[in-house]
Every structure is written in C-alpha cells, then in structure tokens.
Amino acid sequence: MNPPLKGRQRLRTLVDRGPHLLLVAAHCVIGDDELQTVALVDTASEWCVLEWSAAATMGFDTTRLQDTLYHTRFGLIRGRIERMAVRLLATEGADVQIEATFFISPDWPGPTVLGWRGGLERVRIALDPFEDWLYFGEAAAAE
C-alpha cells in the first residue's frame, strides 16, 4: 500500500439505502462509537451532513439547530454546525479517525454525507474502481 494511504475498504457504489442511492459510499462510524453505518462520499458537498434520524437519536435538539443557512440540492435549509468524530473503517491496514464538522438540520431530507469542508479536505483518499477499493490515510500536518 502506498505509505500515505494507511487503510482500505471495499469500494461500494450505487448503494441502495432506503430512499437514497449512494453513488459512492463509505463504511464508517459516526460519533464517539455511536453509529456504524454507510455514508455518501461527496467531495462536491460543502459540509459533512448527518442524516436527521441519526442526529435526533444522538440527542441533537432542534431548538438549537437554527443559526446558519446552507444552500443544498434540496434548497436552502436552516441548521447548525457541530463538531463530531467520524471513523473510516478499514478491512486492511488502519482506520482513519477524523475530527470533523457536520451540518445538522431537522430539515435535511438526505443521507449522511462525508463532504469536503470539515471532513475530506484533510484526508487522503483514493478510489480504485477496477479492483474495487477505497483507500484512505491521514493528511500531512495542517499547513
């Protein structure tokens, strides 16, 4: 494995999850050992976003989730930015733990998303669609 890429998991594409079709999905744990799930990998999404059912189950309070607006493919929604851990689970090599930033809103109708800001912007990732692997690794120290 290329040294900067510490671990890998199977590349999963077109993953059907309820009403959502995840074009590229990552198997991960959200929060501090709270929810092992799959999330949409979307470098075109400005923020990581937590599916509302998961956020509500984790105890996020709607009355506090109103201070910021986010332009999404579902329109303009109101929510709040929160710090939260996400761990990419390896089947070979090491996991990568990210101290990430998520946008959380009761109005978000989509799936959990691993987006660019506060998430993938500091993670090395690589896709191999021929051998079906998703590689990941920690980035260099912050510039």
């Binding site: 059907d16 309820g18 198997h27 109103q66 607006l69 303009l76 929160e82 506060g118």
Partner: protein, 146 residues
C-alpha cells in the same frame, strides 16, 4: 449581510433564534461570521472566528463556532473491525429489501434488529453486540437485479 441570502422557497428563512439574539452585543460580529459561512468563504470565517473568540471570550455561541470551524484533524488508528464486513453488505443486498421502510442492524452476516425507529434498532443492537459493533442503516427499498 446574512439577510441578503436568497431563499428559493420564499418566505422567512430566519428563525426564532435570530429574533431572540438579535439584540445581543455580539450580534453584528456573529452576522459577519455567519455570512462568511453561508457564502462558502470558510477560510475567512476560520480567521474571523479566532478574532471573535478573543473579543467575546464569554459568549458560548462564538466559542462553539471557534471549535466547529477548526479544520478537520485526521489520524490513523488501529483497525476497529476484527472481521470482514462484506458479509453484512452481502446480507443487505440479498435480504435487506424484505425490511423496506425500516432501519436494520446487521452483524457478521446476521440480522440483529429491524424497526422504523432508528433509536430502537440501536438499542437492540447495542444490547446484543455493544455500541457501534453492528452495521446500522436504512434497508434497501429496491430488490437487487437478477
């Protein structure tokens, strides 16, 4: 100004939260920060929030955003799964559609719980295999192609 953010749906997109806090002494600074966040100028927002955290050290809201806007930190950690989770994904592909409309918990290729209530599924799965040790996701709604 943040109030200039367009709302394609029309109507008042701002909230009761705004009404409650608009009179606070830090409000103008918060609106500057929020405007940067909402217009994708996050590097500038990261710089500004550091200044605001010094200016308003006792304002929880500013301190919250100082932490929330920090660039992400990633580090390699020992592998958590001691088995290949492909069996869980295979189970979902082959059987998950039987539970359409539910959240399901699967562990080592075996269904642990299925229910429309995610909290209930997490509770049952946690009781059986411990927190975050089962794959929990919405069940597929479509049958796999033959």
């Amino acid at each position: 100004m943040a109030q200039d953010v367009a709302n394609p749906a029309g109507g008042d997109v701002r909230s009761d939260w705004d009404a409650r806090h608009a009179g606070e002494p830090w409000w103008g600074d918060w609106v500057r920060l929020r405007t940067l966040i909402e217009t994708s100028r996050v590097p500038e927002a990261r710089d500004l929030v550091k200044e605001l955290a010094v200016k308003w050290p006792d304002v929880d809201h500013i301190r919250h955003y100082e932490r929330a806007l920090e660039p992400p930190k990633a580090r390699a950690v020992p592998r958590r799964l001691g088995y290949d989770p492909q069996q869980d994904h295979d189970w979902l592909r082959e059987h998950g559609h039987d539970y359409a409309g539910c959240w399901v918990a699967v562990h080592r290729g075996r269904l642990l719980a299925a229910d429309p209530d995610l909290g209930r599924v997490m509770e049952l799965a946690n009781a059986e295999v411990g927190p975050a040790n089962a794959l929990i996701t919405r069940a597929p709604e479509r049958r796999p192609e033959e």
